[in-house]
C-alpha cells in the first residue's frame, strides 16, 4: 500500500511555528494558528507529543459513520466535506489527537501531507516521506 505522510523529528523542532502559519494561511487564508493542521506544543500534550500531526494511520476512517474519510491513491486519509455530518467522533477517537477542530468551522480537518510546512521548516524537523 502506498503511504505518504509527514514524518516528524521532535528533537529538531525550535518552536518557531512557521509550519502552523503556512498551513493556516494555505488552507484557510488565516493568520490564526488554531486553523493549522499541524500543531506545535510548547508543552507536551497528553500523548507526550511536541509536534502533533496526522500520521495517516486511518483509525478515523473506521469510526466515521458516513464513510466520509477515505484513503487516496497516495495513502493519504482525506475528508469528504459533503459527506461529513460533523459528528466529530473522529476527533475523539484519533489516537494521536491529530484531527483538528476550530470554532469557526463545524467540520474537522487534518493534515493531508501536502508538504508545504516541511518546506518552511528551518530545522528539517518535519519532512514528507513516501513509501510504495
Amino acid at each position: 500500500m502506498n503511504m505518504k505522510k509527514l514524518e516528524k523529528y521532535e528533537e529538531k523542532c525550535i518552536e518557531c511555528h512557521a509550519c502552523e502559519d503556512v498551513c493556516a494561511k494555505t488552507y484557510f487564508k488565516s493568520e490564526d494558528r488554531g486553523k493549522s493542521r499541524i500543531v506545535i506544543n510548547e508543552e507536551l500534550d497528553e500523548k507526550g507529543q511536541k509536534i502533533n500531526v496526522c500520521n495517516q494511520c486511518g483509525e478515523c476512517m473506521e469510526v466515521c459513520p458516513e464513510l466520509a474519510l477515505t484513503r487516496d491513491k497516495k495513502g493519504v486519509v482525506r475528508l469528504d466535506k459533503d459527506k461529513c455530518v460533523e459528528c466529530l467522533i473522529c476527533v475523539g477517537f484519533c489516537p494521536y489527537l491529530s484531527m483538528r477542530v476550530h470554532k469557526d468551522l463545524l467540520e474537522p480537518f487534518k493534515c493531508i501531507a501536502c508538504g508545504l510546512c516541511a518546506k518552511e521548516c528551518p530545522t528539517e524537523a518535519i519532512e514528507i516521506v513516501e513509501t510504495v
Binding site: 473506521e62 469510526v63 466515521c64 459513520p65 458516513e66 464513510l67 455530518v85 460533523e86 459528528c87 466529530l88 467522533i89 476527533v91 475523539g92 477517537f93 477542530v101 470554532k103 463545524l106 467540520e107
Partner: protein
C-alpha cells in the same frame, strides 16, 4: 453484505398498485434552537392533513418528545377511549436536543399511544433516523389519528416539501423486507438511501397485543436498513390496527448545525469530550462498542440478577458460555460504526451478519440480525430456560421483522412455560406445543403462530394478564398462584431483571407510569450490591430523583446509555449515591440543553421539567382508570420467593435474612412457615416503600398528586386539576 435485494420489477409492481389518497405541498419550517414549533396532524379516516402550531405554553411545560406525545394524546382522546378506537393516536416526537450530530445518543424519537396491553398511556423511546429527519422536514411532532380503510403508507419528503398518503396493497408487511422495499422505491440511487428512514411493524403485530414499531437507519457499510425498536406496550399493534404499513421520511442535508442551536461551539466541545471518554474507557468499562447492552448478561448472572425460568432464579451455569462477552464477540460484528443516529460513538446497535435462518417463512435466507440487546438475550433466552445464542438470534430476528417486543415475548413465553410445567395448562390448551423451559422449538413455533394468527400463539400474544384471566376462567387455574408468578404490572410484562433482593428496584418496577420497565429507575446495584440507599427515605429519594432524571431523556430525544454506560474520570472521586448520578454527565446534558435552546436551566430546573411531565402522565393514568395502589401492584415473584423450590434454592440467604432482618429464628420451622414469614415481611416492606415514595413524589397515600404539588411544579392546568379533584375530596 446486503441481505435483502429488491428487484426493479418489484418496485414497479409496488408503484403500479399505489393509489394516492392525499398529496400536498408545504414549505418546511426551518428548525430554530431545536424546535420548529409545528405538528403534522394526519387523520387516516378522512385523509385530513393539518399543520398545527405548538403553543408557547405547551413548549414551556411539555418540552418535547414524550411530553409532546402525552399532550397531543390527552387532547385527542376521550376518557373512555380504547386502544383500537379511531381517536386513539400514535404520536412521534423527537424533542429539542434530538438531531444534534456531535453528542452520543441524540437522535431518539418518543412514541406515545394508548396501549392494547395496559389500556393506558404508553411511551417508548427508539433510535433510528426517523425523528430527527422528520424534525428537519419541519415537524416537532407527528400526530396520527383515525383508521385507514385499506393499508396505507405516509411519505414525507422534507427537501421537496411534499406529503402523501397512499394505498399500498402489495408491499410486504414484515419489516426487514418492507424497509428495504420502500428505501429502494424512494431513493434516487445508492447514495440517496442514507436519507431515508422507515417506520414499520410486522405480521405478528396484527394478531397480538405486543406489536412494536421498527425505526430504520441506513447502514452504508452493510448496504442495509438497520432496525431499532419502539418495543414496549404494543404500539405496533395500534399501528397495524390503523392499517398503516409504513411511515417514510426522506431528508438530505444533515449537518452539525441542522438543529440550528444557539451555541454550536458548546455542543462541539461537550461532544468531543464524551467521544474521547468512550474511546479511552469503553474497552475497560462496559464494552458497549464491542457487545452493546448484552455485556450485562454475564454480569447479571454473576450477581444472581439474571431472570431464569420466569424469574424464579437469578443465575445459570451456562450463562457465560452462551451469552458472555467472549461468546458475544464471536457472533456480533466488530469494529464498525454502529450508532443509531450520527455522532453516537457509544455505538451499541450491534448486529450479527450473514445469519442463516433455521425456521419460518424466511428459512435459509441469510440476514442481518439487529441486536441482541441484553433484554432480548435475557428475555427470550435465560428467562425461558434457553441458553443458545443461535436461538436468541433467530428469535430476535423474527420478533423484529414480525413486529413483536422481545421483552414481552420473553416474559409471556416464560409465564406460559411455567404454567405448563405446573400443570395449569396442557397440550390441549397449547395445541400440541410442549411449553417446557428450554424448549426452543416450541418457543419459535409460538412466535410463528403469532405471526400467522394461529393457535396458542394468538392466546399468548395477548400477554400475561390476559392469559392469566383466561387460565383462571377457562381452565380452573389457581388465581393467587398466577397473580404471584405472572410477571406483569399494569398489564405490561416485566423487563429482565430479578428484583427480589432489591426493595428499591421492586419500587423501580411497580411504582411507574407505564409499567415495569427499567427505563424509569434501575437501582439494583446502588441498593443491593453497594448498599448505598439503606433507609426507606434513601430509597424514596432515589425513586424520586432517578425516574425524574431519566424522564428528561424522553423529553429531549436522548438515549440514556451515554449517561452512565461510560463514566468520566471525575466519577472516581465521588462516593455514595452521588456517584450513581454521574454529576459531570448530568452537567453535560444541562449544557447541551442550554446550548441548543438558548435557555439557561440548571440541574434543579432540569428535574422540574421532568416532574411536570411525569405528574401529567400520572394524572393521565388516573384519567384512564389506573388509580390507587392496585395500579402499582407488584407480583410477588418480583418481591420474594413464591414457591418452595425458589425458597430452597436460596435457603441460606432467606434464613439469614429471617434471623437478621425480621428477627425470627428459622430453626425448626418448616419451609412453608418460613415462606409465609418471609412473605409477610417483604410485602410489608414494599407497602412501606410505596408510602414513602408517594409522599416524596408529592402524592397521597393512594398515589394521587395533590393540588398543592401540582401547583408547586407548575402542572396545575385546569384539565389536570379536574381529573384529580374527585379523588382528593374522598
Amino acid at each position: 453484505m446486503m441481505s435483502v435485494v429488491i428487484a426493479k420489477e418489484r418496485v414497479e409492481e409496488m408503484k403500479n398498485n399505489r393509489k394516492v389518497l392525499k398529496a400536498l405541498e408545504y414549505t418546511p419550517t426551518k428548525v430554530n434552537r431545536g424546535y420548529t414549533d409545528k405538528t403534522l396532524y394526519i387523520n387516516l379516516t378522512d385523509n385530513q392533513v393539518e399543520f398545527r402550531d405548538i403553543p408557547e405554553m405547551v413548549k414551556e411545560k411539555f418540552i418535547g418528545g414524550k411530553g409532546y406525545g402525552l399532550w397531543h394524546l390527552w387532547n385527542g382522546i376521550k376518557d373512555d377511549t380504547k386502544w383500537n378506537d379511531p381517536e386513539n393516536e400514535i404520536v412521534i416526537s423527537p424533542g429539542p436536543i434530538a438531531g444534534i450530530t456531535q453528542y452520543p445518543g441524540a437522535g431518539k424519537s418518543l412514541v406515545v399511544s394508548i396501549s392494547p396491553i395496559t389500556g393506558t398511556v404508553i411511551d417508548s423511546n427508539v433510535g433510528g433516523h426517523f425523528g430527527p429527519l422528520m424534525k428537519f422536514s419541519g415537524f416537532d411532532a407527528l400526530e396520527i389519528q383515525g383508521k385507514a380503510e385499506k393499508d396505507v403508507v405516509v411519505f414525507i419528503d422534507g427537501n421537496k416539501g411534499t406529503i402523501s398518503i397512499e394505498e399500498a396493497p402489495v408491499e410486504t408487511i414484515d419489516s426487514h423486507i418492507l424497509a428495504e422495499e420502500l428505501t429502494e422505491m424512494y431513493a434516487d440511487d445508492e447514495e440517496d438511501k442514507r436519507h431515508i428512514s422507515v417506520v414499520s411493524s410486522g405480521q405478528a403485530a396484527e394478531h397480538s397485543y405486543i406489536g412494536l414499531l421498527n425505526f430504520s437507519f441506513y447502514d452504508k457499510r452493510k448496504k442495509a436498513q438497520r432496525l431499532k425498536q419502539a418495543g414496549r406496550g404494543g404500539i405496533g399493534t395500534v399501528f397495524r390496527d390503523k392499517k398503516i404499513k409504513a411511515l417514510i421520511v426522506k431528508y438530505k442535508g444533515v449537518k452539525g448545525d441542522s438543529n440550528h442551536p444557539a451555541d454550536v461551539e458548546k455542543i462541539k466541545q461537550v461532544g468531543m469530550k464524551l467521544h474521547k471518554e468512550v474511546h479511552d474507557f469503553d474497552d475497560e468499562q462496559c464494552q458497549m462498542r464491542q457487545v452493546g447492552t448484552a455485556n450485562l448478561f454475564e454480569t447479571m448472572s454473576d450477581y444472581d440478577l439474571l431472570p431464569v425460568n420466569n424469574f424464579q432464579y437469578g443465575s445459570h451455569k451456562d450463562a457465560a458460555a452462551t451469552g458472555g462477552r467472549a461468546a458475544l464477540k464471536k457472533v456480533l460484528q466488530q469494529n464498525e460504526p454502529d450508532g443509531c443516529w450520527f455522532g453516537c460513538s457509544m455505538s451499541c446497535a450491534k448486529s450479527a451478519v450473514e445469519y442463516e435462518l433455521q425456521t419460518g417463512p424466511y428459512k435459509g435466507q441469510k440476514v442481518v440480525v439487529d441486536g441482541p440487546e441484553y433484554e432480548t438475550i435475557a428475555g427470550v433466552g435465560s428467562n425461558c430456560g434457553i441458553f443458545d445464542i443461535d436461538y436468541v438470534l433467530e428469535c430476535n430476528f423474527y420478533c423484529d421483522t414480525y413486529g413483536v417486543d422481545t421483552i414481552s415475548f420473553g416474559t409471556l413465553t416464560a409465564f406460559a412455560m411455567e404454567c405448563y410445567e405446573r400443570g395449569v395448562i396442557d397440550k390441549e390448551v397449547t395445541g400440541g406445543l410442549e411449553m417446557t423451559f428450554g424448549n426452543k422449538d416450541a418457543a419459535m413455533e409460538l412466535l410463528h403462530q403469532m405471526a400467522r394468527g394461529e393457535g396458542f400463539g394468538v392466546v399468548a400474544g395477548k400477554g400475561v394478564r390476559a392469559m392469566r384471566e383466561l387460565f383462571v376462567k377457562e381452565y380452573g387455574a389457581d388465581e393467587n398462584l398466577l397473580l404471584d408468578i405472572g410477571m406483569e404490572s399494569k398489564g405490561l410484562e416485566y423487563s429482565q431483571y430479578v428484583s427480589k433482593e432489591s426493595l428499591a428496584q421492586q419500587g423501580g418496577y411497580a411504582l411507574t407510569n407505564k409499567g415495569p420497565q427499567h427505563d424509569e429507575a434501575w437501582l439494583i446495584f446502588m441498593d443491593m450490591v453497594n448498599n448505598q440507599i439503606p433507609t426507606f427515605d434513601d430509597k424514596a429519594e432515589a425513586l424520586h430523583y432517578f425516574p425524574m432524571f431519566r424522564t428528561w431523556f424522553g423529553l429531549q430525544g436522548l438515549c440514556k446509555l451515554p449517561w452512565n454506560d461510560v463514566e468520566p474520570i471525575s466519577n472516581r472521586d465521588i462516593e455514595g449515591p452521588e456517584a450513581a448520578k454521574v454529576p459531570e454527565h448530568v452537567q453535560n446534558y444541562v449544557d447541551l440543553y442550554n446550548a441548543v435552546t438558548g435557555n439557561n436551566i440548571d440541574k434543579q430546573e432540569m428535574i422540574l421539567q421532568s416532574e411536570r411531565v411525569y405528574n401529567f402522565q400520572k394524572v393521565f393514568n388516573i384519567r384512564l382508570g389506573v388509580v390507587g395502589i392496585e395500579g402499582d401492584r407488584a407480583p410477588y415473584r418480583s418481591v420474594g420467593p413464591v414457591t418452595k423450590e425458589e425458597y430452597l434454592s436460596r435457603e441460606d440467604r432467606y434464613d439469614k435474612q429471617m434471623k437478621e432482618k425480621i428477627g425470627v429464628d428459622p430453626e425448626g420451622k418448616s419451609v412453608e412457615e418460613k415462606m409465609a414469614i418471609t412473605r409477610e415481611f417483604r410485602e410489608s416492606q414494599f407497602a412501606q416503600l410505596r408510602d414513602t415514595v408517594y409522599k416524596r413524589r408529592g402524592w397521597t397515600v393512594e398515589g394521587i398528586p395533590t393540588l398543592e404539588h401540582l401547583q408547586n411544579i407548575g402542572m396545575d392546568l385546569p384539565e389536570v386539576m379536574e381529573v384529580v379533584k374527585p379523588y382528593l375530596s374522598k
